[in-house]
Amino acid sequence: MYPPKLGYVIAENLEEATDFLEKHEDAKALAGGHSLIPMLKLRIIRPSYLVDIRRISNLHFISPGSDEIRIGSLSTHYEISKANIPLLSETATKIADPQVRNMGTIGGVISQLDPSADYPASLIAMDAKVKVKGKTERTVSFKDFAKDMFTPDLNPGELVTEIIVPAFKDYKFSYQKLERKAGDYAIVGVAVLLKTDGESIKDVRIGLTAVNNTAVRATEAENMLKDTRISEEIIEKASAKVMDYANPVSDIRGSAEYKKKVTKVMAKRAILEALKR
């Protein structure tokens, strides 16, 4: 676990960082370092430079608005967990352990795009947008930004500057993560946002992580629940439908078959927990 030799650059501002990253294509931005440093130590990656972006203060903010919440890419999991953002704050509490939550950032998670990361389930359910800045600035939906696992829509010299999520004011929500043991990556994670009116469901969004290359929405399951009266039966059926959106691979965290089965269990748990709020 000793990284190869590399250069280290501290960027004072965004322009400096993006300029440097554009000129040195094999350089890497360093945010929380909790994906990057382990890969360096295992010598899986060998960047020429690390560009430390942690001092760029205008990437470090959370600003709640009445319609949407803007989250600077350097916001740590801990900060997000304390920010009272529907669904996303709860999701942040379930990432790894306190050490990782104190260091890791949301910008780092979505730029890394580990297929088992937690936020993506929630971000996809929330229709989050991602603001990216290089020579120019652009905003893309998270769905398009997450092209494939470990493959964000980022060009050389571009950085994620912020993540924008709708405020989801009157929504109930829950993020349910199944892990083998405390601090582990998810076997499956299910994010649910619900809007109810008395006994019926007006709107519902269900996001899944860890059971596909990238996070997906279980749209048919959502449709089954939308505009129906809440009943045990319909929840059971919709949870079973969610399972159709899981295409997991067998690995040390369980067989594909098991992961599919527990996707249903976790979907149901997430719906029921959301309804309890």
């Binding site: 676990m1 000793y2 990284p3 190869p4 030799k5 295992l42 010598r43 199944l178 083998r180 043991k181 405390a182 601090g183 582990d184 990556y185 690995d251 040390i252 965290r253 369980g254 067989s255 098991y258 992961k259 089965k261 527990v262 269990v265 976790m266 748990r269």
Partner: protein, 731 residues
């Protein structure tokens, strides 16, 4: 008068360790140290053609690169400590870089060119047994073959009411000490001083001198603080030989500390046995015959065979079975070599026999506790069919106490099941074999100020043994425990010793310390006789003092010590040799056999994970010197055993690549998965030692897996014959 033995005395070792003042090998710094980095095989099996280090030597800081190092060490591969002709497993050392810092050392590894031709690999032990593809070129895969046989099991099984066949698998685990292995070797002409993360400095010295005896006069081995070992740090490893050789060659201090990735790949794995059992049981519950084919997955070296011998001979456990055969096969595979891990052979034996008990009960429709009782050994001493002499104890008495507790768990089980929950109660009874010898040493030395230093040949590394031994010595000498300091772990402190393994230290080193204390008392009386101008026969030692009951005169141990020291430069005018010291070596002529019972109430959640609702254990380990220390061993052992039953497993793919190469993959549990454990003890089965203790270091890793597996099996209503259970494939 016993003031301390039997009390829950807090561990003397702890304050330093829990305030971050521990000094592990990597905390020790010596000027001029070279750092060792090791290039390792990334393939499970290959013919090694050439290793080119010329580019590595050009890297700034690199002082030397060593290849092709070869020593003859018993049971180790021909390619030891480095591969010179053949690569045998992922992680095997190929070359070693010595550099002035760790970073350049690891950088240099990238510049070494290795030319090899991949050979077919042998990963599955049952495949290996067929001996078609070879794990080691030119050698049969079957490294070891032995039959343990008694009576006529074939006949007994064929005439029994119910015959059962099962394959029981116990997978490999990684010992997972918190501190990876490491060594610092300091060169001086004629003397090497080695600081090591080891369970046995004396053993290490002897091993290393076997190889390096012609290059150096002596090797002093000092055990630094050790952050866990669990059996895995008993024998010196390839890296230890490489480090020692490097410091002899360069005449400089050399340090090697494993990274976690290296430690997972190369620290000897534990367990790794497959048992194909056939057994016969009669309708009345008597188990009449067992036929077991035991295949042990040795990896690329043959030093783990003794573990299969222990498993085979302990297979009968605490039951009266007479007709039994165990065919042992030790097979090579292209994996990390196998060796001992907490319990070492007994957990495997116990898992198999306890599975047999439960399965037999299910097959004939009998209560599994009744079936065990039907077969349990009722009188001790008892000679088991393979000649082991179970020393003493009242198994049935402990069993019946355990049964009471278990019936309570079963009541809760049925209440919860009636609520539709997947809950099960599981029970195990185990017989342990420990105090592996042959003996241990201790020296008790009274200093001039009356403080007592106790040197032991055992080398504890987290167990708290020093506290237990201080209790014993303080009681025997009748002094304050704070005046007793127990030290260990340095070959220059005491002539010989063995170390800490096999639940032996408190009993063997503790009794050596007891006997040494008695020698000190004798000597105190003889010195006091001089000082008090009395006859030795008139005096006796009592409560820290030598007294003359007739005259009422007395001298405390401290006073005798002080008087012995009184004038520097003066003369010694007494007819007794000065000095208040005693050294003793203590061995037992049989191993000891503690026993106990574990039980768990578990729930299988809908998501496939387990909740342990209740856990209870009861053990008889003879005299319990310090119930808090013993309880600590049980708690740690239960959680370790629970990990082995549920989530810990070293996994290779079919080609021999390690899939669990870091803690991101290997399923080591955390404090968050821990549960409450209730523990009680009995003191009926006393050992033959003057202080009749046995040992508790490993009992819980033996008793836990079968109890947890049985509970889970009942909760799911599906037979489970595999450790770990891989619940994701059974729910």
């Amino acid at each position: 008068m016993k003031k301390y033995v039997g009390q829950r005395i807090k561990r003397q070792e702890d304050p330093r360790l829990i305030t971050g003042e521990g000094r592990y090998v990597d905390d020790l710094e010596f000027p001029g140290t070279l750092y060792l980095a090791i290039l390792r095989s990334t393939v499970p099996h290959a013919k090694l053609n050439r290793v080119d280090v010329s580019d590595a030597l050009k890297i700034n800081g690199v002082v030397d690169v060593i290849t092709g190092l070869k020593f003859k060490v018993e049971n180790r591969p021909d390619n030891f400590p480095m591969a010179s002709t053949e690569l045998l497993y992922v992680g095997q050392p190929i070359a070693a870089v010595l550099s002035t810092d760790r970073y350049s050392a690891y950088d240099a590894l990238d510049s070494i060119q290795v030319d090899y031709d991949v050979l077919p690999s042998v990963i599955d032990p049952e495949e290996s047994l067929k001996d078609q593809k070879r794990a080691i070129e030119g050698k049969s895969n079957i490294a070891y073959k032995k039959t343990y046989s008694s009576g006529n099991p074939e006949e007994k099984i064929s005439s029994s009411d119910v015959k059962v066949e099962e394959k029981i698998e116990i997978n490999r685990v990684y010992p997972s000490a918190m501190e990876p292995r490491g060594i610092l070797s300091i060169y001086q002409p004629d003397l090497l001083t080695i600081y090591a993360s080891t369970q046995s400095p004396h053993y290490m010295r002897r091993y290393l001198l076997d190889v390096f005896g012609s290059m150096v006069k002596d090797i002093r081995v000092v055990q630094a603080d050790v952050g866990g070992a669990f059996g895995s740090k008993l024998f010196p490893y390839a890296e230890d030989y490489i480090a020692v050789y490097s410091s002899l060659k360069t005449k400089r201090p050399v340090k090697w500390i494993a990274t976690r990735s290296e430690d997972i790949r190369t620290t000897y794995h534990g367990r790794g046995q497959i048992h194909k059992v056939k057994f016969g049981v009669n309708k009345d519950g008597s188990l009449v015959g067992i036929n077991d084919q035991l295949v042990i997955d040795l990896g690329a070296a043959s030093h783990g065979t003794y573990l299969a011998d222990i498993s085979a001979t302990m297979l009968p456990g605490p039951y009266k079975i007479k007709d039994i055969v165990v065919d042992v096969y030790g097979v090579y595979t292209n994996k990390t070599p196998l060796d001992q891990y907490r319990g070492a052979g007994r957990p495997e034996a116990t898992f198999v026999i306890e599975r047999i008990m439960d399965i037999a009960a299910d097959e004939i429709g009998m209560d599994p506790l009744e079936l065990r009782k039907k077969n349990i050994v009722r009188e001790t001493p008892y000679i088991n069919p393979f000649g082991l002499k179970y020393d003493n104890g009242d198994y049935l008495n402990l069993f019946e106490k355990a049964e009471k507790a278990f019936r309570g768990l079963e009541e809760r089980e049925s209440v919860l099941r009636s609520e539709g929950r997947r809950v099960g109660a599981g029970f195990s009874f185990y017989l342990e074999q420990n105090n592996f010898g042959p003996w241990e040493s201790a020296s008790v030395r009274v200093r001039g100020d009356g403080k007592v230093i106790v040197i032991i040949g055992a080398s504890p590394h987290g167990q708290g043994t020093a506290t237990g031994i201080a209790q014993i010595v303080a009681d025997e000498l009748g002094i304050d425990i704070n005046d007793v300091e127990v030290v260990w772990g340095d070959t220059s402190l005491i002539g010989e010793g063995y170390g800490t393994y096999g639940s032996r230290s408190l009993t063997l080193a503790g009794n050596a310390a007891l006997i040494a204390s008695r020698k000190v008392k004798d000597k105190a009386i003889r010195l006091a006789a001089q000082f008090m101008r009395s006859d030795v026969q008139e005096l006796k030692y009592d409560d820290g003092k030598v007294i003359n009951p007739k005259s009422g005169e007395s001298m405390s141990l401290r006073e005798i010590a002080a008087k012995s020291m009184s004038t520097l430069g003066g003369t010694w005018n007494y007819k007794e040799e000065p000095g208040l010291e005693g050294t003793a070596y203590f061995g037992l002529d049989n191993l000891t056999f503690p026993y106990g019972s574990h039980m768990a109430l578990v729930e299988v959640r809908e998501d496939g994970l387990l909740n342990v609702l209740e856990y209870y254990a009861i053990d008889d380990i003879g005299t319990v010197v310090n119930p808090m220390l013993a309880e600590g061993q049980v708690m740690g052992g239960v959680l370790q055993g629970y990990g082995e039953a549920t989530s810990e497993e070293v996994i290779y793919d079919k080609e021999g690549n390690l899939l669990t190469g870091s803690f991101a993959e290997y399923g080591i549990l955390t404090a968050m998965e821990a549960f409450n454990i209730k523990w009680e003890y009995l003191e009926k089965g006393k050992s033959a030692a003057p202080l009749p203790a046995k040992g508790i270091g490993e009992g819980a890793t033996i008793g836990t897996p079968p109890a947890v597996v049985r509970a889970t099996e009942k909760a799911l209503n599906k037979r489970i014959t595999r450790l770990p259970m891989r619940l994701s494939s059974v729910i």
